[in-house]
Amino acid sequence: MFITVAGNKKEYKEGLTVAELIEAEKIDNPLYVTVSVNEEFVERGTFDKAVLKEGDNVEFLYFMGGGC
């Protein structure tokens, strides 16, 4: 199936969860990333239960604390 990750369309296996996607995409600090799928937040702690489907649009939003 094809899903869009941070603006790029990519092919992944059927039944991929958000947790597996985070691992596949080598996301920094996976415990503290905010994920949205089709402009809905996925609650942290439920990433392994959130199954993605064809055409989903996934965004990763990162904590950025600097300003100094």
């Binding site: 941070a6 603006g7 600090n29 415990l31 503290y32 905010t34 949205s36 402009e39 809905e40 937040f41 942290r44 965004e59 939003l61 990162y62 904590f63 950025m64 604390g65 600097g66 300003g67 100094c68």
Partner: protein, 269 residues
Amino acid sequence: MAFTNEQLERYSRHIILKEVGAKGQKKLLNAKVLVIGAGGLGAPVAMYLAAAGVGTIGMADADVVDLSNLQRQIIHATQDVGKPKVQSAKETMEAMNPDVKVITYHTFVTSENILDLIKDYDFIIDGTDNFPAKFLINDACVMAKKPFSHAGIIRFQGQLMTYVPGQGPCYRCVFKEPPPKDAVPTCKQAGVIGAMGGVIGSLQAMEAVKYILGVGNLLTGYLLTYNALTMEFRKVKLPSHTEDCAVCGTHPTIDHLIDYEQTVCEMKH
């Protein structure tokens, strides 16, 4: 209030813009913006707002200028090392534009003083360098119904979003609560490329100016991200269903301001 000849010349490139004009320039001169943090982000924000003729600019920062700040905090110069950042910033801004009244707050912004600090301002800039402060500014602005610009920078990356009461998500809608101490590195720990503050801080100044003028579209409901290494800007649409947010949702569970714990290294820039 009529413009002096000097003001007509100083702001001529603004006044000629149909989105600004004499009317818009007067709005800027009458506007009050509070910049929290006079560092990597706060420096370019404060300088562009001062140059633009934003009439009253508050600068809040408890720190003094350190030599390690000068690689990016362009409002401060070598001779300012050791001086309170707000004082150094004020001197630069007043030298740039005598029309601007700079009010300094040489203090940490806390749950005790933030509502008092922001109450007289039209727009708030989050130029802070730590999550406790970012969440405090968000919650206070939500509670006091003040618009603000959030930004964060680290390494070769930056992000910003704009909150306007009643329009789109707040910072807490997206990020929920501060990460535990040291779970996510600060720019002191991880480094930041000097011009990043210039890129993202200038965009924060742009949002403040657009808000004051009432022109264009703000970054409400979006997080703009910038990666300097790939030279990509992305305007990421944020979820609009945020009724369950702990501070701006329909039934908020946060009814008081919180001073989250800061690490010692975050206390000093």
